[in-house]
C-alpha cells in the first residue's frame, strides 16, 4: 500500500460551490438586507389578496367553504355561487343578508385595487374619496386615485405584477439566451455563425422600439404578453455571455477528461460545462430582473401597459401624470420601484462577489 494520504483528509463540511457562495453571501450585510427585502416582497406578492381586498379570504356560505380571494389571481376562479346569487362583487352585506350563518375571514385591509369602495360596502365605511380629496388618511393609507381606487391596495397587488414580470420575463430570456449561447459556443462552426448573427440582429434593434412594435401588433396587451415580449427581447446579453463561457470551458481539461472516459456531447454540455458556466450568468440575470421591472413600469407610465384598471405600479405613475398635486400617486409607487430595483441590484452585486472564482479556496 502506498504512502497514506489518509491523515490529511479534511473533516466533512458542505463544500459544494453554491454552499460556499452562500456562506460568503451571508457575510455581506447589505446584500443580505436586500435579499430579505425581496423575500418580504415575495411574501406580499403571494399573499396579496389576503392583505388587501374586498373578497373574503375564506368564507362559509350556505354550508360550504369557499376562497373568493383567489379571484384576484384569476377572474375565472371566483366561485360561481356568488355570481348566481347576485353578489356583484360586494360581499360583506350580501353574506350577512343571504345567509345569517355565514362567516368570513377578511383581508387585513378592506380595499379593492380595481375599483373604488362604495359607501357602507363595509358597515360604517364611507366611500373612497375621489379626485384630489384622496390624500393619505387612516382609512386609505396611501391615499386614493382620481377615481377613488385605494392606492395601498393597488400597491400590494402591484407587487405581484412586478415580481411576476421580473421573474417570468427573465425566465424566458434566460432560457433562450442559455440555449442559444451554449449551442453556439460548444458546437461552433455553422451553428455558431447562424446563432451569432441572429443574436446580433436582435441586439441591433433598440429594445424599446421592438417592444412597442410587438405590443402594437398584439391585440390586447395583457401583462402576460408584456412579459413574453420583454423575454423575447432581453436574451441577447445572456447568450453572448454563455457563448463566451462555453468557448472557454470546452477546452478545459476536465472536459477532455470526460471525453476520454467516453462521455458524449450531450452529457458533457449538461453535466460538465453548464454547471460551471451558470455562475457568471446569474449576475446579469439578477440585474435583468431589475431592468425588466423598471421597463414595465416605464411602459405603464407611458400608457403602453395594461389598460386600466391595472394594478401595476407604473400605472399609478401614469395616473399621477395628469394630477401632479396628488403627490401620493408619485411618492409611494416611486419609492416602491426604487427600492425593488435597488434590492435586485444589490443582490446581483452580492452574487457577483460571492461567486468570484478568485476567492475560491485552493489548496496546493
Amino acid at each position: 500500500m502506498s504512502e497514506p494520504a489518509r491523515e490529511s483528509i479534511p473533516p466533512p463540511r458542505p463544500r459544494g460551490f453554491w454552499a460556499e457562495a452562500w456562506n460568503r453571501y451571508r457575510r455581506m450585510p447589505l446584500a443580505m438586507a436586500a435579499l430579505i427585502f425581496i423575500g418580504f416582497l415575495a411574501a406580499v406578492a403571494l399573499f396579496a389578496p389576503a392583505i388587501a381586498g374586498t373578497k373574503p379570504v375564506i368564507c362559509k356560505y350556505k354550508g360550504r367553504l369557499y376562497l373568493p380571494c383567489l379571484a384576484y389571481y384569476n377572474r375565472g376562479w371566483e366561485p360561481v355561487v356568488f355570481a348566481r346569487d347576485k353578489f356583484r362583487g360586494e360581499y360583506p352585506a350580501n353574506l350577512e343578508a343571504k345567509d345569517p350563518e355565514s362567516w368570513a375571514i377578511w383581508p387585513l385591509v378592506f380595499q379593492d385595487p380595481y375599483r373604488a369602495v362604495r359607501r357602507d360596502e363595509w358597515p360604517g365605511l364611507p366611500a373612497n374619496p375621489a379626485r384630489d380629496q384622496g390624500h393619505p388618511s387612516s382609512r386609505n393609507l396611501f391615499g386614493t386615485t382620481q377615481t377613488g381606487v385605494d392606492v395601498f391596495a393597488k400597491m400590494i397587488h402591484g407587487t405581484t405584477v412586478a415580481l411576476l414580470v421580473g421573474f417570468v420575463s427573465m425566465g424566458i430570456a434566460a432560457t433562450i439566451g442559455i440555449t442559444v449561447g451554449a449551442l453556439a459556443g460548444y458546437f461552433g462552426g455553422w451553428l455558431d455563425v447562424v446563432f451569432s448573427r441572429i443574436t446580433e440582429v436582435v441586439m441591433c434593434i433598440p429594445p424599446l422600439v421592438l417592444i412597442l412594435a410587438l405590443l402594437a401588433i398584439v391585440e390586447k396587451p395583457t401583462i402576460w404578453k408584456m412579459m413574453a415580449v420583454l423575454g423575447l427581447t432581453g436574451w441577447t446579453g445572456i447568450s453572448r455571455l454563455m457563448r463566451a463561457e462555453f468557448l472557454r470551458l470546452k477546452s478545459a481539461e476536465f472536459v477532455t477528461a470526460a471525453r476520454s472516459v467516453g462521455a458524449g456531447p450531450g452529457r458533457i454540455i449538461i453535466r460538465h460545462v453548464l454547471p460551471n458556466a451558470l455562475a457568471p450568468v446569474m449576475v446579469p440575470i439578477t440585474f435583468g430582473i431589475a431592468a425588466a421591472i423598471l421597463t414595465e413600469s416605464g411602459l405603464s407610465f407611458l400608457g403602453f401597459g395594461q389598460p386600466p384598471p391595472s394594478a401595476s405600479w407604473g400605472s399609478l405613475l401614469n395616473d399621477a401624470r395628469s394630477n401632479l398635486k396628488m403627490w401620493w400617486l408619485v411618492a409611494f409607487p416611486g419609492a416602491a420601484i426604487f427600492l425593488t430595483v435597488l434590492a435586485f441590484n444589490l443582490v446581483g452585486e452580492g452574487l457577483q462577489q460571492a461567486t468570484d472564482p478568485r476567492l475560491r479556496e485552493a489548496r496546493k
Binding site: 504512502e3 497514506p4 494520504a5 489518509r6 491523515e7 490529511s8 457575510r27 489548496r363 496546493k364
Partner: protein, 340 residues
C-alpha cells in the same frame, strides 16, 4: 557586514479564516557577491519572504515583526517600515527582482525597448535617447541576439527564454547590488534553463552582484549557489554552505528531499524513498516541530511537544532539529501509525 540581513521576519496574512503566518521567524544573511539559494516546496513561505524584502506583500498580508537590514556604504537601513517613497528608490535601484512567469512580468501592450527604458528612467534622470541606448546595452548584456530589432518587438513575439532575459535586463537596469530571483527558470525548458542559469552566473561575476535564488529544484541550487537555506512551513530548518549541505545534510526534511530523487536510489528496482504525508497548511500546523508528522526519526516527547530552535551544529551549518547529528535509524513503524 552582510549586504542583506533578515532578522526574525514574521509576515502574516489576516484572512477571514484567521491569521496565517506565512513567514514565521526567518533569519537570513547574504554577503556581497554571493548567491544564496532559498529552497522549499510550495506554501513554505519562500516567495513571501522575497516579497517582504521589497515590501511587495499584498494585503491582507503584512510584515508583523523583524528587521530587514540593507547595507549601504557602511550604514544599514531597515526596510521594514520604510516609507513607500524610499522603498521605491530601492526597488530596482539597489535591489532588483525577477519572477517566475516571464509572460506576466512583461506588459503585453508595450515594446520590449519601452519597458527596459522605463526601468532605466525610473531611477536615473536621463533623456529618452539615453535610456534607449542603455536599454540596448542591457539587451546585449543579457545576450539577446539582434538587440536593435528586439527593442521594437512586443513580448509575445519573443520566446520564453528571451522574455526571461528581458526581465533580467529590466532588473539589472540600475546595476543593483542584489538580485532576487523567484523561481526564474521553473517555467522554462531545461535547455533554456541552462542558458539562463549560465547567464546569471556570468552576470554575477561581471557585476559583482549578489543573488537570492528562490527555487524548489535542488539540482539548480547545487550547481549555482554558494549558500543554501531550506525552508519548511514558514521557518528555516537548515542553513549551510552548498557543498556542506549536499555532502552532509543534517535536517530530516533535507535528507528526505535528497533521498526522494530517482538518482539517489541504490538499486534500479528500488522504490523511491518518498517523504510520507503532505506539507501542512498554516491552520493545521502541528504542535512541536512542524515536520514531525512526516519525520522518520521522530522521537517522543520532544519532537511532538517542543518547537526546536536553530542551532549551529558545525561551523556555518545551522539546523532546526532536536536530534540533528544524532538521528539514529529511521523508524520501522509504518507511516500510518507514525503520522497521527
Amino acid at each position: 557586514m552582510p549586504l542583506l540581513e533578515i532578522r526574525n521576519l514574521v509576515t502574516a496574512f489576516h484572512t477571514p479564516a484567521g491569521r496565517v503566518p506565512a513567514v514565521d521567524g526567518v533569519s537570513l544573511s547574504i554577503e556581497r557577491g554571493t548567491t544564496l539559494g532559498l529552497v522549499g516546496e510550495s506554501g513554505c513561505g519562500k516567495s513571501v519572504t522575497a516579497m517582504s524584502v521589497l515590501g511587495l506583500v499584498a494585503s491582507p498580508g503584512r510584515i508583523e515583526a523583524g528587521q530587514i537590514l540593507l547595507d549601504r556604504d557602511g550604514r544599514s537601513i531597515d526596510l521594514v517600515g520604510l516609507p513607500e517613497r524610499q522603498l521605491r528608490t530601492i526597488r530596482g535601484g539597489r535591489i532588483g527582482m525577477i519572477f517566475q512567469e516571464p509572460m506576466t512580468s512583461l506588459n503585453p501592450v508595450f515594446t520590449v525597448g519601452n519597458q527596459v527604458a522605463e526601468a532605466v528612467r525610473l531611477h536615473q534622470k536621463v533623456s529618452r535617447q539615453a535610456a534607449r541606448a542603455r536599454a540596448l546595452e542591457l539587451l546585449r548584456l543579457v545576450r539577446i541576439a539582434d538587440p536593435e530589432r528586439r527593442l521594437d518587438e512586443y513580448p509575445h513575439q519573443l520566446s520564453g527564454g528571451m522574455r526571461q532575459r528581458v526581465v533580467i535586463a529590466m532588473a539589472l537596469a540600475c546595476e543593483p547590488d542584489l538580485l532576487i530571483a523567484d523561481e526564474p527558470t521553473t517555467a522554462l525548458d531545461v535547455t533554456i534553463q541552462a542558458q539562463v542559469l549560465e547567464l546569471l552566473a556570468d552576470l554575477r561575476q561581471r557585476l559583482g552582484m549578489a543573488i537570492l535564488l528562490i527555487t524548489h529544484d535542488l539540482g539548480v541550487v547545487a550547481e549555482t549557489c554558494d549558500e543554501v537555506a531550506v525552508m519548511y512551513a514558514g521557518r528555516i530548518v537548515e542553513r549551510a554552505a552548498a557543498a556542506a549541505l549536499f555532502a552532509r545534510p543534517l535536517h530530516p526534511y533535507t535528507i528526505g528531499l535528497l533521498a526522494a530523487r530517482p538518482e539517489h536510489r541504490r538499486a534500479a528496482a528500488d522504490p523511491l524513498a518518498a517523504i510520507p504525508g503532505m506539507v501542512p497548511q498554516p491552520r493545521d500546523f502541528p504542535a512541536g516541530c512542524r515536520f514531525h508528522p512526516r519525520c522518520p526519526f521522530v522521537r517522543e516527547p520532544r519532537c511532538t511537544a517542543e518547537l526546536p530552535s536553530l542551532r549551529e551544529l558545525e561551523p556555518g551549518h545551522l539546523v532546526r532539529c532536536h536530534y540533528a547529528g544524532d538521528l539514529g535509524d529511521p523508524a520501522t513503524v509504518p507511516a500510518e501509525a507514525r503520522a497521527e
